[in-house]
Symmetry: C3
Subunit: 264 residues, 3 copies
C-alpha cells in the first residue's frame, strides 16, 4: 500500500503496534509509533505477550539488547501473531556482531513466519550468509542489493537494508529508496525507528509487502529531510524528526511527489 | 497541600522519590522528578529496594513494563514504605489490557496500602470493576468521575483519572482539574510523568490527599500549557515541557491564579 | 592524551565502546558516545558480553540500576577487557546509598583491573572509605580532592570526582577541571554521560591516564558551556548538549584555549 493511504488509515483506525525491543532506543521507538498515528505498546513478560499480541495489528521484534527470557517472549509473541494473521517485522540489530545475535535471528526466522526483515546492510548480509563487517551494531560494509534479494527469497518475506540508499525486495521486485538525510545516521536508534515505521504502516495496511515497506522507509526519510533543515546537530534533530513525522502523518497529502522509490 | 506550598518545600528539602517503573518512559519520569525539585532514584533489585525506599520521601510504582521480579520488588518496597509512613503512589499502566496487568494491580493494592492511584480513565475503570475499553496502554472509554469515586472508597485512597479533564477523588470530595493541552497526549509517557509529579508533591507535602494530588495534576497541566506555545509538534514539546516544569517549580508564585481545580 | 588529539583520532578510527549500563540514562549515554565520534554498543547478556568486549576499544561499567545478572556480566566483560588490554572505566552510581551498590563496587574493583573510576564526590568518598552523604544517586557532601588521591593510590587507577570542579588523580598527579555549567547538574544522566565521554577518549587514546580523563571531562564541560547559551532550561539543554559535543568533536581545534585543566 502506498504511504499516503496507509497513513490516512492509521490516523482513522489507530492500530495497536506491539513492540518487543531493546532498552536503548525504546522511548524513541514508542514516540515514533505514536507520531506515525499508531498506538505503541511495549510488553515482554512471557505471561502477557500472547494476550498483548492478539490485540495488536502488527508485532515488531528488535533484538538490540538481548536476554534469554526476551528471546522466549519474542518466539511466543511471534507464533501468536502468525496464528492471528498479524504481520511480524524483525529488526536483526547487531546480527553478525556476536554469535548470540546471529543465532537468535536464525531461531526467530525458523520458528516465526516474518513478514518483513529490516536492518542495515551488514546485518542483512549476515542473515544472507554473505560476508559482512559489523562493528557492534553499526554496519561497515555489505552488498545491500544482493543481500535483500537473497534473504527475501530464502525467507519468503520482504527484506529491507537501510543506508544512504535503502534497498527493499520481496525476491522478485527490488526497490531503491533515496529519501533521507545524513543526520539520521547520527542519532542512536534511527534504524530501530525506521523499523517501527514499517511496523506501523504494515499494521495499517494489513500487509508488509514490498510497496508498503519501501513507502514506509521513504516516508521516514522524507520526515528526516524536513527535520534536518530545522536542526543544528544530532541533538536538536531528534525532536524535530518526531515533529516532522507527526506533521506528515497528519497530512499525508504533503507527501505528494516527495517519495523517491524506484524499481531496480 | 496546595501546589505552590508543596513546590516551595520541595525546592528547600529536595525530597528523594523512589521510582520502580517501566523502561519505556523512565528517563522522562526521572527528568520530570528532577525538574519538579525532587531527587529521583530508580532501583528495583530485591536486594536493595527496602533500603532505598527507607531513604525516600515517596515511592512511585508504575507497571508499564512488567516482569515477575519487578512485581516482587514493588511489593517489598511498598511494604517498606508503609512501615516508614511514606506515601505510595501507583500508576496501573495498562490495567485492563492484559490479565497480568489487572492481576498485578489487584495484588499491589491488596498487599500495599497505597496513598494514591493515578491512571487514565480506562485503567481506573478497570480497577473499579467497571466496563472499560483499554487498547494497549491507551484508554478509549470509561466513566472517569464515577470510577474515581468507586475506587477511592474501595481502597481508602486518593484516586485520579487523567484525561482532557482529570478527576480526583478521595471518596468524599471529588475535584475536576482542567489544566493541560492536547500535545500532552501526543508524547509517550505523559501519564507516567503526571504520576511522577504526584509522587514529588506527595513527598514534599507528606501526604497524597485529594488537594495535593489535584494540585499536582493542575501544576503539570499548567506546565504543558506553557510548553505548548513554544512547540512545533510532539518532539519539540517534550523538552519544552521539562523547561516549563522547571521554571514553575523554581518560581511557584507564577502559578497564582492559573490552577483550574474545581469541586464537583 | 590531550582532548584535541584524542577526538581527532576518534573521528578517524570510530572506536567501539561497550557499555553495560543502567536503563535510566542509557539512551543519553549512547547518543553522547556517538556524538563524541565513537560507536556505542550496549550488550549485557552473559552469553555475549565476552565476545562484544573483545571487539571493543573500551568498556564502560555503570551500576545505575543493578540486578544480579548484570553484575555477573560486568565481571565477565571486565575480565575480558583486562585480557584484551582494553581500558575499563567504572561509574559507581549510588555507591554509599545502599549496601548492594557499595558491595558491587568493591567486587568490581577487586575482580577487574579498572583504568578509571568516575563518580560524584559522595560516591568516590564512599569508595575511599571516607564519610560521605549520598542521597539516592546524588552526592551531597564529601572531600573530593582527598578522596580521588586516596582511591587512585588504593586502586592504581585514575580517579575522577565530578562536580562544580572536577578532581582527577592518579595518586601522584592531581588535576582540577573547571569547565562546565550549572545546567549540567539539572539533567538526569549528566554524570553517566561524562563517564561515557571518558570511555570514548580512553578508547581513542588507548589509555585512561590522568591527562586523558581530565581532558575528557574538560571537553564535556566545554560542550555544556556552549549548550547552556542556547537553552531555556534543562529540557532544551539536553539536545543542545548533544549538538555541542558533536560540533566540538568534529572540529576539535575549536577547543584551543578553552580547556581549564590545572595541576594542584
Amino acid at each position: 500500500m502506498n504511504a499516503r493511504e496507509a497513513l490516512r488509515r492509521a490516523g482513522e483506525t489507530k492500530p495497536l503496534v506491539h513492540h518487543i525491543t531493546n532498552y536503548v532506543t525504546v522511548n524513541l521507538v514508542a514516540n515514533v509509533t505514536l507520531a506515525t498515528g499508531a498506538l505503541p505498546v511495549m510488553a515482554q513478560a512471557k505471561e502477557e505477550v500472547r494476550e498483548m499480541t492478539s490485540l495488536a495489528s502488527a508485532l515488531v521484534l528488535n533484538i538490540g539488547t538481548l536476554d534469554p527470557q526476551t528471546v522466549e517472549a519474542m518466539v511466543l509473541a511471534g507464533k501468536t501473531a502468525n496464528e492471528c494473521g498479524v504481520p511480524v517485522v524483525l529488526d536483526p540489530v547487531g546480527a553478525g556482531a556476536t554469535a548470540l545475535r546471529t543465532r537468535t535471528v536464525e531461531r526467530l526466522v525458523s520458528e516465526v513466519r516474518v513478514a518483513a526483515v529490516c536492518g542495515n546492510a551488514g546485518e542483512i548480509s549476515t542473515v544472507a550468509g554473505l560476508e559482512a563487517e559489523v562493528r557492534g551494531v553499526e554496519s561497515l560494509a555489505g552488498d545491500a542489493e544482493q543481500a535483500v534479494r537473497l534473504v527475501a527469497k530464502a525467507l519468503g518475506a520482504t527484506v529491507a537494508a537501510t543506508g544512504p540508499v535503502d534497498y527493499v525486495s520481496d525476491g522478485e521486485t527490488t526497490l531503491a529508496v533515496c529519501n533521507g538525510h545524513p543526520l539520521m545516521g547520527r542519532i542512536v536508534g534511527s534504524g530501530c525507528a525506521s523499523t517501527a515505521v514499517v511496523g506501523c504502516l504494515a499494521a495499517s495496511a494489513g500487509t508488509a509487502d514490498v510497496e508498503t515497506v519501501a513507502h514506509a522507509l521513504a516516508f521516514y526519510g522524507a520526515a528526516g529531510e524536513d527535520a534536518a533543515g530545522l536542526s543544528d546537530g544530532p541533538g536538536t534533530f531528534e525532536p524535530r524528526l518526531l515533529d516532522a513525522i507527526s506533521a506528515l502523518s497528519e497530512k499525508p497529502e504533503r507527501l505528494e511527489g516527495r517519495l523517491k522509490v524506484e524499481g531496480l
